[in-house]
């Protein structure tokens, strides 16, 4: 294992120290329990957005803490959900009196730990709503599994709900928006190579030089299908087809297209994917009204990409365009 680390057990703590050193005007890092909060939280009268999950997906979620997006992010150990005390303390710290929205990715550990945290917060009189994001179309048989995973749509939901909360919309409206984004967003990912979890020290699965995994999640778990490696255009089709068919996206739909890198994929490759994905969308009759291209929800050093399509409406567009000022996403502010 070759990594820019000092010790596997120090990865999360040292990264948090670095984030705080780099972005002290935007965020504050609290320790034991660990969470990252907006430097100016709590914001009186604003619904507070709290998310979290295992570390290793950076910049999600800590990089999205700041004005116009999250109020707090709770990082767990690498690929391990955070614990209830983290979300409980974070919720208390950022609650500005208008309640707290928990944005949870659909992984068993995340869901259970956020459930316990919400119970604890409600017992203290804090209004909490939870929305579980489950947008991964790679999970075909959701009746017999833990359900679809939460992937790319999470980033879009955090931005759009953050924009809405900034306008002092009530908790029920922000939660409703989050559910709407989840209902209208679909994603699919693939990997060229597995990632290496620091404390494991070796790749989480083996892929031959001429193989790829289609339908991967973001935790180094293998996907549903292992197939022969294809060229970028064909890979883009393999990701776009199930995404388009699932909602389904119809001719005339305005969409936000998000082409994401899994951690070890260079931007130049992401644009090759975006080029083809935009062409497919156009042929399908979609209007790509907004886009996001870059590595925002990653899986450590996995090479690969995911494509997310979100069917937009006017309110979502307004919230997407609203100013955002976070370590990893900023415009208009």
């Amino acid at each position: 294992m070759k990594k820019l680390i000092n010790a596997p057990e120090a990865v999360v703590a040292e990264a948090l120290e670095g984030m705080e050193a780099a972005h002290s005007s935007l965020i504050k890092v609290c320790r034991a329990p660990d969470f990252i909060m907006r430097a100016d939280a709590p914001v009186a009268g604003k619904v507070a957005l709290v998310s979290g999950g295992g570390s290793g997906h950076e910049p999600m979620h800590g990089g999205f803490v700041g004005r116009g997006m999250l109020d707090a992010a709770c990082p767990g150990a690498v690929f391990t959900s955070p614990t209830p005390d983290q979300m409980f303390e974070a919720s208390k710290a950022v609650n500005g009196g208008a309640g707290v929205l928990h944005i949870v990715k659909n992984y068993t550990g995340d869901v259970l730990n956020f459930e316990m945290a919400a119970d604890l917060a409600r017992a203290e009189g804090i209004a909490v709503e939870s929305v579980v994001i489950d947008d991964d179309v790679a999970v075909e048989d959701s009746t017999w599994t833990a359900g679809r995973r939460g992937v790319g749509t999470t980033v879009l939901a955090e931005k759009i709900c953050g924009g809405l909360a900034e306008r002092k919309a009530p908790l029920t409206a922000v939660a409703e928006m989050c559910r709407r984004v989840n209902a209208q967003g679909r994603s699919m990912g693939m990997a060229l190579s597995a990632c290496t979890v620091p404390h494991v020290g070796k790749p989480s699965f083996d892929l031959a030089d001429d193989e790829m995994e289609i339908g991967i999640g973001i935790h180094g778990e293998p996907g549903r299908h292992r197939v022969k490696l294809e060229k970028a255009d064909r890979i883009t089709e393999m990701l776009m087809e199930p995404v388009l068919a699932d909602l389904p996206f119809k001719s005339g739909d305005p969409v936000l297209m998000f082409v994401n890198g899994m951690g070890a994929t260079p931007a130049v490759e992401l644009y090759i994917i975006y080029r083809k994905a935009a062409e497919i969308a156009r042929k399908h009759g979609l209007k790509v009204v907004r886009n996001l291209v870059g590595s925002y929800i990653t899986s450590l050093d996995m090479a690969g990409t995911s494509i997310t399509l979100l069917k937009m409406d006017e309110e979502m567009l307004t919230c997407w365009d609203a100013p955002v000022l976070t370590p990893s996403l900023r415009w208009g502010a």
Binding site: A77, T83, T108, G109, L112, F205, H219
Partner: protein
């Protein structure tokens, strides 16, 4: 020794912490093909915290002991195992409040409350390739051993958990991250059922 005293239970959990530290690599190895390679590390970290808590301030009764274990696991394990084992010990603690020792019948009652809580939290049933598959036969064995000597009952529970653990190998995972693998989850022993068996085996066989 006819009953499970607070001392015996404390010793169990301290020894289990050592077991889990030793089994860290093994549990990680089981988790890698079907999960996300974190079960061994998470359990070792959680039980190391339990060991530190129990050593610093030994609880006076079994209820306090189990509650301390629960709260420590909930705040240190993470993943799905933290809330699940945490809920098991928390619900078990409720049935042991104020008791300085447990009879076999009382431990069985604690175990049942713990398993019921765990299954509700995880929305899990037997046969889904989870820790429930080790714990459910263990509870059945405890119940079947009612009236028998305590040590015999604990040994039967550990043996039943071991069989349950092995029975997860051919199962198709329906819960947790392994479920996304579909058919590919078959042929692997469930790490959660394995850690459950480790715990119950140590209760039956104190290192002394």
């Amino acid at each position: 020794m006819a009953d499970l005293s607070t001392d015996r239970m404390t010793t169990w959990l301290l020894e289990a912490a050592a077991d889990l530290e030793q089994a860290k690599a093994y549990l990680t190895e089981l988790d890698a093909p079907i999960g996300d390679s974190d079960h061994g590390v998470n359990m070792a970290r959680g039980f190391a915290a339990v060991r530190d808590k129990l050593t610093a301030a030994p609880p006076a009764d079994v209820g306090t002991l189990l509650k301390t274990v629960a709260m420590t696991l909930i705040s240190t394990v993470g993943g799905a195992s933290g809330p699940l084992y945490g809920t098991f010990f928390l619900q078990a603690a409720g049935k042991a409040a104020g008791k300085t020792s447990l009879t076999l019948a009382e431990w069985t009652e604690c175990f049942e409350a713990g398993l019921t809580g765990l299954m509700a939290r995880g929305k899990a049933q037997p046969g889904e390739k989870t820790m429930v598959d080790a714990l459910t036969p263990a509870l059945a064995a405890l119940k079947a051993a009612a009236g028998q000597p305590l040590e015999q009952a604990l040994a039967a529970a550990a043996a039943a958990a071991e069989q349950g653990m092995k029975d997860t190998i051919p199962m198709l995972a329906h819960k947790g991250r392994a479920s996304y693998l579909g058919e590919r989850s078959i042929g692997h022993q469930d790490p959660g059922a394995t850690s459950s068996h480790l715990l119950l085996r140590r209760l039956a066989e104190p290192a002394g």
